[in-house]
């Protein structure tokens, strides 16, 4: 039975080695990921980690560049993903200093867990609009046209920010849609439209602006009644609370508003 016992011993050692290897890997690959309380300060300066909603990719990349130019020695590290993904990452201990979400719901979930420092500020608004392929194959001219038979409409699922506003929009227009697909992200909806796979999709006005000539935007007047608000806040326990608050002010300030406005975002 000595053979059997040594196998068990080997397994125990192996378990320990995996855990140790895992710890070493974490420390090496993602410094500071053991907790948001340990800020990463490089030899030259400080790093501010900003978690921002995917729909902010272009604007926040530009804002980060400008913030870095205004604050020598500061590096802004950006992490873009769906708002719900970002909330999950922060809950699991990802080292975020600032969170900028695409809807109030995601911020509320963070606040519910006591992970928000101070009060969030709304820095932008976004509204839904119809996007169709550039040649508008189904001849869509209004929200009511989307309900016509043989029109393939793609929307966001009710669980994600861009889909959460849809029931209100349907109520305001009195038109109920029968979508062929409920996507996980607004970018997936846009992809189905730009590829011509769908006849129309409901996306944000900013998505139509950034998609350029590939899609055509068809305004929905009633969409103004269902505005999506983007909140920003410093994450509780951040070692860069002061710098984070400064970044949030920068986004809600004149520079931030002009960059966001140019991309099609509304002012709060």
């Amino acid at each position: 039975m000595t053979g059997f016992r040594s196998v068990r011993l080997a397994l125990g050692l192996a378990a320990a080695s995996v855990v140790l290897a895992g710890c070493a890997g974490t420390a090496g690959a993602a410094p500071g990921s053991t907790g948001s309380s340990t800020p990463q300060s490089r030899a030259q300066g400080e790093t501010l980690t900003v978690f921002a909603a995917a729909s902010l990719t272009k604007t926040f990349t530009e804002l980060a560049d400008r913030f870095e130019a205004d604050n020598p020695g500061v590096t802004v590290a950006l992490n873009f993903a769906g708002s719900a993904d970002l909330v999950t990452q922060i809950r699991e201990g990802a080292p975020a200093d600032v969170f900028a979400g695409a809807d109030a719901r995601s911020m509320d979930r963070l606040r519910g867990d006591g992970l928000v420092d101070g009060d969030p500020a709304v820095f932008a608004t976004n509204t839904l609009t119809i996007a169709v392929p550039a040649d508008n194959p189904a001849g869509i001219a209004s929200f009511a046209d989307l309900a016509a038979p043989n029109v393939d409409v793609v929307v966001c699922a009710p669980q994600v920010p861009c889909g959460a506003a849809l029931p209100a929009l349907e109520a305001a227009t009195g038109v109920t849609l029968a979508p062929v697909s409920e996507e996980n992200a607004v970018t997936d909806v846009l992809g189905k439209v730009t590829s011509g796979q769908a006849d129309a999709g409901l996306v944000y006005v900013t998505d139509v602006a950034s998609a350029g000539a590939a899609v055509l935007g068809i305004p929905v007047p009633e969409a103004g009644q269902t505005v999506n608000e983007y909140p920003i806040a410093v994450v509780a326990g951040s070692g860069q609370a002061r710098l984070g608050a400064s970044f949030a002010r920068f986004v809600t300030g004149a520079t931030g508003q002009s960059v966001l406005g140019a991309a099609g975002f509304g002012t709060p």
């Binding site: 053979g3 719900a84 999950t88 793609v154 796979q197």
Partner: protein
């Protein structure tokens, strides 16, 4: 048979595997088992029953089983002849063809989805032809099956081809010299010979199809009962209800494990 190689447990351990490989094997196994275990510990058991029997969950599971089965049938139908061509015949450009056929193994699934979109999409290479023929692929269950078959086919081809090469062509040659037609050789000699590889290949293909996510999301869309398979449902639930996502994930793991246990027996293991 050498002495001391009886059926006891001790006998199996001392068959000639160096002890250090066992340590590494244990570490590797733990690397796979621990995350699954970690996920299981997150399951909210008080809600588990309700979460995995919700209308959306049941629809997703049934769709997944249905599409993965159809994909596996397609993989067998096309994959076995592909493996035969690769293992038993010689043609110019064979190595290149083999490499291309195995590409879905290394392609990120999203890329696979884009490739399918540019081919079978409404504005793709063949999309209009299908539309003229009255075949609707966009946002249909057919699109899910295409995406799953695309990523699963190489698993079946690899598995069957490897078995064909390992078994050699001697029996087939003998059968042919005895007057059997190529069809009879395939039916009576080759297929029975490679059956283990065929079964394990089919199981691998089924499991891969069951777990398909990226290509489906990119190519087929996501609608309950039509295109939203279990992996897509998990991804969606994670947006609003992490407990539901974990419960469904465990359901998927259980189904995959059952399929593997029931059918996947590597050769030499009774």
């Amino acid at each position: 048979m050498a002495p001391g190689r009886g059926g006891s447990h001790d006998g199996r351990v001392t068959l000639g595997v160096p002890r250090w490989t066992l340590i590494l094997a244990g570490a590797g196994a733990l690397f796979i088992v621990l995350p699954i275990l970690g996920m299981t510990l997150r399951v909210d058991w008080s809600r588990f029953g309700a979460l995995v029997t919700s209308e959306a969950a049941v629809a997703a599971l049934l769709l997944s089983l249905r599409t993965a089965t159809m994909s596996t049938v397609l993989c067998l139908l096309f994959g076995v002849p592909m493996a035969l061509a690769l293992a038993r015949s010689r043609f110019p450009g064979q190595r290149l063809v083999r490499a291309v056929v195995l590409l879905p193994l290394v392609l990120p699934p999203v890329v696979g989805g884009l490739a399918l979109l540019s081919t079978f999409g409404r504005r793709g290479l063949l999309g209009e032809t299908f539309e003229v023929l009255g075949i609707q692929i966009a946002f249909s269950t057919t699109a899910v099956v295409l995406a799953q078959t695309f990523v699963a086919l190489p698993f079946l081809v690899l598995s069957v081809e490897a078995t064909l090469r390992a078994s050699g062509a001697r029996f087939e040659a003998v059968a042919a010299t005895l007057g059997a037609t190529p069809g009879t050789v395939l039916r009576r000699v080759t297929l029975p010979l490679v059956l283990p590889g065929l079964v394990s290949g089919a199981v691998l293909a089924f499991a891969r199809a069951l777990g398909e996510f990226g290509a489906t999301l990119t190519f087929a869309g996501s609608l309950q009962g039509v295109t939203r398979t279990l992996p897509l449902e998990i991804y969606l639930q994670r947006e609003s209800d992490a407990d539901a996502a974990v419960a469904l994930a465990l359901l998927l793991v259980a189904v995959a494990l059952l399929v593997m246990l029931a059918t996947h027996r590597p050769r030499g293991l009774s």
